[in-house]
Structure formats: structure tokens, C-alpha cells
């Protein structure tokens, strides 16, 4: 509460977006994000003993970028802030995190097509590069991820018809 002073009037509202219906008062239903993750935000690997640490060399730069994207906590502040209620920052963070790593490259084509498809089904808007999401993101997810997702999407749509 250090950001406020005596006598302040504070407006408290829920995250507003068509894809985030209000459940009650300030609580909104963000299960649209769960459905986007279910459509591709994973890597299919056989379980078992952990493999040797240096089996898959990952360049330091890629590892750092993937880690920065992976810090997204999926809160939805990007959607609430965006004038288009676009979920591109969230989806692109998830797509980037996996597309940058060798483990995620195998399914990268299907992943980006499926996740963007699901994002559109949920009724999120498109990105117009305003950058408000990047400013409000509590984890400082970079707009670069959206550019990376667009590249991934273009690449994927050339290879595969969806």
C-alpha cells in the first residue's frame, strides 16, 4: 500500500476481456488460457530416468531467451491491458519457450498452428504492436516473443495446411 496516500480514491475492477467472463465481483474465468496450453503448450517425451545433463547442448543465448519466455506466469494482465484483448504476448511466450529449445523443435510446427488456432477460437483479438502488454507484464515478457511467434507461424503455415 506504499504506492497510495491518505484520502486516495482507488478504483478496483476485474480483468476485462470478452474471453475472460466475470465469475463474481473481481474474479474472472481465465480457463481460455488453460485450453490454449492444452492445445500445444507441452513437449511429448518418454518418461524415465533423467538423461545426462550435457546430452543435448543448448547455446547459452537460446537458453536465456527460452528462460525469459518461460517466466510468464499466465496471469492475463497482457489481455486485460490490450485494447484488442489480444493474448499474443501470453501465447508467444509459450510458443517461444519451446520453439527455442531442441526438445520443443520436434513439435514446433503443429504447436504454433494449434495454439494460434485455439487462441482465435477463444475470441482473443489480434496484435497491433501497441506494446502495452509488455509494459504491464509483471514478468517483463518481451514483445520480441510475438515477432518470434509470427515467424514460427509463417514458417509452419508454409509447411503445413491447417
Amino acid at each position: 500500500m506504499r504506492s497510495f496516500k491518505d484520502g486516495d480514491v482507488i478504483y478496483i475492477e476485474p480483468f476485462r476481456a470478452n474471453s475472460f467472463p466475470v465469475i463474481k465481483d473481481l474474479a474472472v474465468d481465465r480457463s481460455a488460457f488453460d485450453r490454449i496450453i492444452q492445445s500445444g503448450g507441452y513437449v511429448s517425451v518418454s518418461t524415465g530416468a533423467a538423461q545426462d545433463a550435457n546430452n543435448l547442448p543448448v547455446p547459452k543465448n537460446d537458453a536465456d531467451k527460452a528462460f525469459a519466455a518461460a517466466t510468464c506466469i499466465g496471469c492475463g494482465a497482457c489481455v486485460a491491458t490490450c485494447k484488442n484483448a489480444s493474448a499474443m504476448l501470453f501465447v508467444s511466450a509459450k510458443v517461444s519457450q519451446l520453439a527455442l529449445l531442441p526438445q520443443g523443435k520436434v513439435e514446433a510446427t503443429d504447436r504454433v498452428l494449434n495454439m494460434v488456432h485455439q487462441m482465435d477460437l477463444e475470441g482473443f483479438g489480434n496484435c497491433t504492436n501497441t506494446g502495452a502488454c509488455e509494459v504491464e507484464c509483471p514478468k517483463g515478457i518481451s514483445l520480441d516473443n510475438i515477432a518470434r511467434m509470427n515467424r514460427e507461424y509463417l514458417k509452419a503455415s508454409l509447411i503445413k495446411e491447417k
Binding site: 500500500m1 486516495d8 480514491v9 482507488i10 478496483i12 466475470v22 463474481k24 474472472v28
Partner: protein, 80 residues
């Protein structure tokens, strides 16, 4: 600290919803924003009113459950 909160109240997805004024007193600057809402809810329950529903879980920016727009900004005025 004495504050006036204008909180969005909406009974359900179909309800129209409106901003309701809630005065709060004795707010310590050391409180978190959610703790301030906890205090408000305690008073509301004591008075027999419906407490304000809001999402929260870890309260330390890890889980991503927090979802308040404070003075028009998602997660409030403080930035990273």
C-alpha cells in the same frame, strides 16, 4: 491511512454489475493490496454483508492467480 475504494461488484456472469463505494480506515502502508482487501472483507462479513470475491493464491507473483485492475492498470501502479 483512510481510503475510498470503488469496487466492481457483480453477482454472476449474467449480472450487470456496478461500482460500489467502500470507505476503509487504518490502512497501514506496510500492508499488501490484497491484505487491505482482506481487512475490508472481514469488516463486511462482520456487518453481515457479502465479501468481495477476488482471485489470489501465492500472493508473491509466482502463480499468476492475482487479477485486479487498480486505477485502470493491470496489477496496479507498481511496475517491475
Amino acid at each position: 491511512m483512510k481510503l475510498t475504494l470503488k469496487i466492481w461488484r457483480q453477482n454472476g456472469p449474467k449480472d450487470k454489475g456496478k461500482l460500489v463505494d467502500y470507505p476503509v480506515d487504518h490502512v497501514s502502508p506496510d500492508m499488501s493490496f490484497l491484505e487491505m482487501l482482506d481487512v475490508l472483507n472481514e469488516h463486511l462479513v462482520e456487518k453481515g454483508e457479502e465479501p468481495v470475491a477476488f482471485d489470489h493464491d501465492c500472493r508473491e507473483g509466482i502463480c499468476g492467480m492475482c487479477s485486479l485492475v487498480i486505477n485502470g492498470r493491470a496489477h496496479g501502479p507498481q511496475s517491475v
